[in-house]
């Protein structure tokens, strides 16, 4: 795990064991640092604990042991009003997989985008609309779209609305949980391009959760692989893909569809599957 950068990271899970019950923990001794402005990919299979890590960073899980801090605040100790204030401040924002289900179908998307601002307190009308317009512009949408309902937008536009809704609160960490899995090829590229550009801007950190290594690799500087509730790999994206250490990471890379016919890789995948099933580390 990367221990090189000194000082307080933006977000930190230190030897954290997390889950509904200590004896049935979802995550075991997880250590993960996210630095200011960094773009980190979090990859793993369904049920591996990716989303639990994300929920932990929002203060939505029970931490049985270890430490969780975000922006210097110890989340395990926040209770009641303090926890609500932390969430309302919007330091951490979350974008979900399916924008159709995360946006209210009966509210114009501009109002959905402004909802976080409205919760914080009343804003001057013109200030509010210019903030909405600025944010829509920042995610590559025409501000004119603010008056539309989600149903009148394409999947990719809706997902950009969901991202705008998170960004208007100027978060320091944006969590994207499978943000392109429900999108078509063309919309997927639009959203990935947007995320890549905002990662390059480094004004906020991104945690990009996906089971698709290709999308993650195009957007992030660093990738973290979770397997059965443990972090099994953590390193610079290009390095992890060129020289993966854990058999599960190797299997993931071998499983990504390439434009060549799969015949040649079949045996290697079969070997890796057997190795992963045995729980071998192989390293």
């Amino acid at each position: 795990m990367s221990e090189t950068s000194l000082g307080e990271p933006l977000a930190l899970l230190q030897d954290a064991t997390i889950g509904y019950h200590r004896r049935a923990a979802v995550l075991h001794d997880v250590t993960l640092r996210i630095e200011q402005g960094e773009s980190v990919g979090l990859i793993g299979e369904t049920g591996s604990g990716k989303t639990t890590i994300a929920r932990t960073l929002l203060g939505l899980t029970t931490v049985h042991s270890g430490r969780v801090t975000v922006g210097g605040r110890d989340l395990a100790r926040l209770r009641g009003r303090a926890l609500r204030t932390f969430r309302r401040d919007g330091v951490v924002q979350y974008v979900f997989q399916d924008p159709l289900r995360s946006l209210d179908p009966d509210i114009p998307v501009g109002d959905s985008v402004a909802e976080g601002l409205d919760v914080r307190g009343r804003l001057d009308r013109t200030v509010r609309s210019s903030r909405i317009a600025e944010t829509l512009h920042a995610v590559g949408l025409d501000p004119e779209l603010a008056s539309r309902l989600p149903g009148a937008l394409s999947g990719g536009q809706r997902q950009r609305i969901a991202i705008a809704r998170a960004l208007i609160l100027e978060p320091r960490l944006l969590i994207l949980d499978e943000p392109v899995s429900a999108l078509d090829a063309a919309n997927r590229v639009h959203v990935l391009d947007l995320l890549r550009a905002s990662a390059a801007g480094r004004s906020f950190a991104q945690l990009f959760i996906s089971h698709d290594l290709g999308s993650v690799a195009g957007v992030t500087d660093r990738v973290v692989v979770v397997y059965r509730g443990r972090i099994v790999e953590d390193g610079p994206t290009a390095q992890v893909i060129a020289a993966p250490q854990h058999p599960y990471t190797r299997l993931l890379i071998e499983s990504a569809p390439t434009l060549e016919s799969a015949g040649a890789d079949r045996e290697r995948r079969a070997e890796l599957r057997a190795l992963v099933a045995q729980g071998g580390t192989g390293a």
Partner: protein, 283 residues
């Protein structure tokens, strides 16, 4: 190999001038498609391109308000357009079968998967109860499910998505069809499981000489299993050819955009030679 006699020469599935329309708009506008015995053909397109409807017309399951017309729609020389529902039953499932995106929704949640598989073998192939049970386990074994006898005693909710999709494939090939239609069979699955299911499908083709019509929104997935590919957009085929040729020299801007997206956000660019499990374990 299939026991069914074949009409000499012509394609197994032949579609010419296929039109499908809803009361308000045309959805499929003049598709030509042929799948020869033992051949694998892919259809790539985004949602709404008409790719699934095209497949459904070959199964006689285009939903009701939609109207189908074609110059020719034939399977193994037999006209499908004029087939009665009774005659369809001897074609659908027996000679043309299909798997779809969400395997759980095609299984009865209150029966074990072994029982559902045995039921097909008893009713469609007239097997006796004990023989059907044994054959069901053998089919599951053939699809690479570990401990197939135990899997057969499980209810759908007790199995993972990848296991369920293999159960569905077992159901689809139980009657030794000539053509398997696979409509986004791996879209809902994790990357590693997707590769596993694609490998299973490739093995089936090799072992049984099964012809395949494979639908996906992901060109790279189609490239894994198909010799020939059609690219559909807005109800028409915009490009078709040998998969290798289309990938090497795409002609239509949409196909080029799909390939560019893959170059940007696929793994090919970063992937080095990944050492095989054996190479690493014995270092």
């Amino acid at each position: 190999m299939s026991a069914h006699a074949s009409a000499a020469g012509g394609p197994l599935l032949e579609i010419r001038g296929l039109h499908i329309s809803s009361p308000s708009a045309p959805l499929v506008r003049g598709i030509d498609l042929a799948v020869h015995r033992g051949e694998s053909v892919g259809i790539v397109g985004e949602s709404g391109s008409g790719k699934s409807l095209t497949c459904r017309s070959a199964l006689g399951i285009v939903p009701d308000p939609l109207r189908v017309s074609a110059d020719r729609l034939a399977f193994d020389g037999q006209d499908l357009l004029t087939l009665s529902e009774r005659r369809w039953r001897s074609v659908r499932g027996s000679r043309i079968s299909a798997v779809f995106q969400d395997p759980a929704s095609y299984l009865n949640p209150s029966l074990t998967v072994g029982r559902q598989l045995a039921e097909v073998l008893r009713i469609k192939l007239g097997r006796r109860r004990g023989a059907a049970r044994r054959e069901a386990v053998a089919l599951l074994d053939g699809l690479g499910l570990r401990d197939p006898a135990r899997v057969a005693t499980r209810y759908p909710h007790e199995l993972s998505g990848g296991m369920l999709q293999r159960v569905l494939i077992a159901l689809a090939i139980a009657e030794e069809p000539d053509l398997l239609i696979a409509d986004e069979p791996t879209t809902a699955l994790d990357a590693t499981v997707q590769a596993e299911v694609l490998d299973v499908i490739a093995d089936l083709r090799r072992e049984r000489g099964l012809a395949l019509l494979f639908v996906s929104h992901d060109l790279a997935v189609v490239a894994q299993v198909c010799e020939r590919v059609l690219v559909m957009r807005h109800g028409v085929v915009v490009e078709e050819g040998r998969t290798a040729d289309v990938l090497a020299a795409p002609r239509h801007p949409y196909t080029r955009a799909l390939l560019d997206a893959h170059d940007e956000y696929g793994l090919d660019r970063l992937r080095a030679h990944v050492p095989s499990a054996r190479e690493v374990v014995h270092v």
